[in-house]
């Protein structure tokens, strides 16, 4: 646990230190210390450079950490509650559903709605994500029974395809927002502002706290519905609460960051390999590991193809796809 916290903090610091423009890297920590209350040291960072650090890099790194931790945490929770190691927010169709929900808001005159007291973007994404996960679950269990891992994933693929198709249809009828939506789909971390952080933080905190306090019950759920019931747990209640919390978190971050794949499956499994299979450890560790992973994954995108950027979804998929195949292979071998 301490290792994970240190890793996450180091990744955050590293993320703030590097970038295509701005001060020399080693001056950044000095500047940060300088801006602590009651501390004053000479960091040699100009006010203009400080704006780059504080207004451009910081929100981006903080948002990447929030998005990464939420996706990893939701992925771990879905895996626990569905008793299926192959699912993540992406494969269950949650991300695509949330994407559809967000697209609908974009088509309804985004500039008007963003000034509402409660921004409808995360809520609409949440609704889309929730409909998608419920649909996936019912399709998956109706045809494959509760024990089939593959059917649930296939149902998720079908729901994703459906949501994407509807999204394309909606976009074709609203060609004026296509550009806006596509740049959002590829990941909006590049334009992150403190406003985005403020937008997601209530949802992320609510979802994280809810999932954290359910970590023990996710272990109880691992022995299956019947035995968990006989042990005095209301299985349906746990399942509903965990799915809603994970979907809320996922949808909120999808609404600001676009669709970033594979975080929700690589990170929990890496944690599982390193720290054991109990959700008591997987859940809290996934939060820090997810933050670390996404902040680090965001760095090559920022410096590789300067000045144009590699979308972060490309970086995570680059590492994620082979990892997923490896995971499928080891599971096949274990059978």
């Amino acid at each position: 646990m301490p290792v994970a916290i240190v890793a996450a903090c180091s990744a955050l610091l590293l993320g703030v230190m590097v970038g295509p423009a701005g001060p020399v890297w080693w001056r950044v920590p000095l500047a940060l210390v300088d801006h602590l209350p009651f501390v004053s040291i000479d960091s040699g960072v100009t006010p203009r450079e400080w704006i780059i650090i504080w207004e451009i890099r910081m929100p981006r790194v903080v948002l990447a950490a929030l998005v990464g931790s939420t996706l990893a945490l939701s992925g771990a929770s879905y895996q626990g509650v569905f008793r299926n190691p192959l699912v993540d927010p992406y494969l269950l169709g949650v991300a695509a559903g949330a994407g559809l929900g967000a697209t609908v808001v974009f088509t309804l005159n985004r500039s008007g709605t963003s000034s509402w007291i409660i921004d409808p973007l995360p809520l609409s994404a949440f609704l889309g994500g929730l409909v998608a996960v419920v649909l996936t679950y019912f399709v998956g269990t109706a045809f494959g029974g509760r024990r089939s891992s593959a059917t649930l994933v296939l149902a998720g693929v079908a729901v994703t395809a459906l949501a994407t198709a509807v999204q394309t249809f909606v976009l074709q009828r609203n060609t004026d927002v296509i550009r806006q939506v596509y740049s959002w789909i590829l990941g909006r971390l590049s334009t992150a502002s403190w406003g985005d952080v403020r937008l997601v933080i209530p949802y992320v905190v609510l979802s994280t706290v809810t999932l954290l306090i359910h970590r023990r019950l996710l272990d109880v759920m691992r022995v299956g519905e019947d035995e968990a019931t006989a042990l005095g747990t209301s299985v349906d209640r746990v399942r509903i609460v965990v799915v809603i919390a994970a979907t809320l978190g996922t949808s909120a971050v999808v609404a600001v960051s676009g669709l970033i794949g594979f975080v929700g499956i690589i990170v929990p499994h890496a944690v599982r390999l390193l720290a054991g299979a109990s959700y008591r450890t997987i859940i809290p560790l996934s939060i820090f590991a997810g933050a670390t992973f996404l902040v680090l994954a965001d760095i090559p995108g920022r410096i590789l193809q300067n000045p144009s950027e590699t979308p972060i979804g490309v970086v995570t998929a680059f590492f994620g796809a082979p990892f997923f195949l490896l995971l499928l292979r080891t599971r096949q071998a274990n059978r």
């Binding site: 272990d219 022995v223 035995e227 019931t229 006989a230 599982r272």
Partner: protein
């Protein structure tokens, strides 16, 4: 010690009646063994007590109907070992056994030191300490059965339900598992209800047998009273001799019909 009473208990799965109007009273500290052919309703009866399936009629623990108990309270009173328990491959023995403490932990709470102390104590008593950190996938059949019983014991419930506790075990491990249950029963004053296929073992370990057939209770009593060749022929469709040992053990020996005269 705790009693368990059934008053016209029925279990239905869609149109199929698995158990019909079962009435019986299991005395405090008694070991009742349910016997009967496959599909007789033994598992359904145990599952209804465990709260896994819905039932009609009343099941009373120490006189109070289970309808008036919360799921948590029920689990504090009744520990259930299913026929084929789910043992997650990568869970450790200690992590698995602590699940038995679930009924005592608040919904959002975590295990206390007291819970872990109980788990470690149970592991010592069941001779499982050296396995504490082992992954469940690496255990043998006999060890797995002991771990599942350990979880039930960690539950500290006065009633223990066992569904076919020995079906996956060889003869030596069958005896070990049943001796263990009997020892724990005496130490803790447990009331035990088990379903078993091996009629000789059922008679050997339990205080009383109860024969189910197509969901109905057709006979109950001691091994000598229930295990009779004509009863077995009628309800199991088996040709069997029943042999009474001098120590009171009733042994059921199947034979091949038409073969009897050739035997010496």
């Amino acid at each position: 010690m705790t009693s368990l009473a059934f008053d016209r208990v029925s279990v239905r799965y869609a149109a199929h009646a698995a158990l019909s109007d079962f009435s019986d009273t299991v005395k405090p500290g008694e070991w009742l063994c349910l016997i009967g052919p496959n599909g007789a309703g033994k598992s359904s009866l145990l599952r209804s007590v465990a709260g896994v399936v819905k039932h009609a009629g009343e099941i009373r623990v120490d006189g109070t109907s289970l309808r008036f108990r919360s799921a948590k309270r029920r689990a504090q009173l009744i520990a259930y070992v299913p026929q084929s328990p789910v043992l997650p491959d990568d869970m450790s023995v200690r992590e698995y056994v602590v699940l038995g403490r679930n009924p005592f932990i608040a919904h959002f709470g975590q295990e206390t030191k007291h819970d872990w102390d109980i788990v470690d104590d149970v592991l010592v008593r069941l001779d499982l300490s050296e396995f504490a950190e082992r992954r469940l996938a690496t255990l043998s059949g006999g060890e797995r059965q002991r771990v599942v019983i350990a979880r039930a014991i960690a539950q500290e419930a006065p009633i223990l339900l066992l569904d076919e506790p020995t079906s996956a075990l060889d003869i030596g491990h069958q005896q070990q598992a049943l001796e263990l249950v009997d020892k724990l029963r005496r130490e803790h004053g447990l009331t035990v209800v088990s379903a078993m296929h091996d009629l000789t073992l059922a008679g050997l370990y339990s205080d009383r047998l109860c024969l189910l057939h197509q969901g109905y209770r057709v006979a109950t009593g001691t091994a000598a009273e229930v295990l009779r060749p004509e009863t077995l022929a009628e309800f199991y469709g088996v040709s069997a001799r029943v042999h009474h040992e001098p120590d009171g053990t009733v042994v059921v020996i199947p034979y091949r019909a038409g073969d009897v005269s050739d035997r010496h």
